[in-house]
Amino acid sequence: MISSEQAVATARLGVLEYLAANPWRVITTTQWPLALAQCLFYTLLGDLADGPGDGSFAFAGSLGLVLALSTVGGIGALPGTEKWGGTFHRLHLSGLPPAVVFGLRSVPYVVNGFVTVILSMAVVGPVTGHGRVSLELAPALPILLLMTATSAAAGLAAASPAMGRRAEVVITNGLMYLLVVTSGLLIPAGTAPLLDAVGTVLPLRHGVLAVRAVLDGRPWLAEVGLECVVGIGWAVLAHLLYRRQAARARRLGTDDFA
């Protein structure tokens, strides 16, 4: 278990670490512009491929993609940082659940992901002629926040088995691109049964369906509920994977996960 003091200290460390690696100058001059460029690219790609909804389908999907880049892509690297820094053994000795620790340290990534979504709505929407859609999406912001959290849980889970095998980048990026293909962000649901089946158990899919339902004025609560269930499932999986990792490290003497 983790006390409130430990939780606050851990979250604080996460913020300090994040800002040390990503000073404000870097966040504002490279990270945010990158997120905007990515959102713009995938929105235009959707327009180019003549997808549904005159491009608004792709725009709404791109918002989900942008937050996944910060959560799955960024958070996925967190455990690796422990490994390369040689600090995991301290975490191990503290007795704190590693998944909880990493989850608390993920807070800046979740916040940054949500901020990039808002920025994309404010900038990319009008630039691509979807300014009205941006305004209509405002009520869906809590759903987008939920999607940030659920994708963060998946990112943490994905990073666990990869540690020690130099495959963190492949697995976390692989998950991210899997989300792009199967979550209905850019490829409409119903296009390919296999993609639909995989997407059902991944984060973002139900959330983006809920967001589109908000845009269309349809009921959205059921999809939000499913998104919560999927997110909790990934969080539990992350917890179990890290517990197993720690137990394995004790058994085999591999504190750096290798």
Binding site: A49, A167, G174
Partner: protein
């Protein structure tokens, strides 16, 4: 300098380039992360454009496939080639590269060629595999012109890599800046996203990107319209990148030696 000297020097230059290319290929083969840009991303891009679109013509499909190939190649080039020096610096081998008796530019270009060759191969195989599964109707490129186009893409990638390598010598935030560069060119580079889709003033930027002209050339060759003027533009731009990159790189290294920003160990 006699003819024999010229031949000997040429042989040495080829040796340096070939050995550097070989080193970089081996390194990349031992780096699973490469697969993100050479397998995963092109696969996703291709799936998105082919599964989303309705009523794509065969020529349109070919243009999209070419665009995906060149777009993915651009990303892989910036990461695989430009990041060479960043990786060398992190491993502590940058010092030897720039203080050896061989021109460090040859080493960087060689590594760029090696990276480009591997990347183009992996991207092409990935695209071929997906096309075999989806079997969309498309027009096929003239094989000869396809080879010419890809060879020029390879050279272009290596020279761009030299330019970007300067970035990695200059600043510790080069990885973040290069990520912006990747997507900036994805949007403005005129490969997958045609310049006509962009707001007026932004459309012209693609004219200074060699891969845009290769996109025009290869798309034309798939429809039987060989556009040699586009090919020429790509050649001119590639030569321009080479000259600029060469001059800039030498200046950057001298500056780094003066400011002590090259690590010894």
């Amino acid at each position: 300098m006699g003819f024999a000297d010229i031949v000997r020097r040429g042989g040495t230059v080829l040796d340096v380039v070939a050995m550097s290319a070989r080193m970089r290929i081996f390194e990349l083969l031992a780096t699973p992360a490469t697969l993100v840009l050479t397998v995963i991303q092109p696969a996703v891009l291709l799936l998105v454009v082919l599964l989303t679109g309705e009523g794509l013509t065969p020529a349109g499909t070919s243009a999209l496939v070419t665009g995906v190939l060149l777009t993915a190649f651009w990303g892989a080039t910036v990461r695989g080639t430009g990041a060479v020096l960043a990786r060398d610096r992190a491993q502590g081998v940058l010092a030897r590269t720039v203080t050896g008796t061989m021109d460090a530019r040859l080493v960087v270009v060689g590594k760029g060629l090696g990276a480009g060759l591997l990347c183009i191969g992996q991207i092409a195989l990935t695209i071929a595999a997906i096309l075999l599964v989806l079997r969309p109707p498309m027009t096929v490129w003239h094989p000869g012109w396809l080879v010419v186009g890809l060879a020029l893409a390879l050279l272009s990638g290596a020279t761009v890599g030299l330019l970007i390598a300067c970035l990695f010598v200059l600043t510790r935030y080069a990885m973040q800046i290069s990520s912006v560069l990747i997507y900036g060119v994805y949007v403005l580079g005129g490969m997958l996203i045609p310049p006509e889709m962009l707001p007026g003033p932004l459309g012209w930027l693609s004219s200074v990107i060699s891969l845009h002209w290769l996109q025009e050339f290869l798309t034309g060759s798939a429809t039987g319209q060989v556009d040699l003027s586009s090919l020429s533009m790509a050649v001119v731009l590639t030569a321009g990148y080479a000259v600029a990159g060469s001059l800039l790189f030498t200046r950057m290294v001298t500056r780094a030696r003066s400011e002590a920003t090259l690590d010894l160990v």
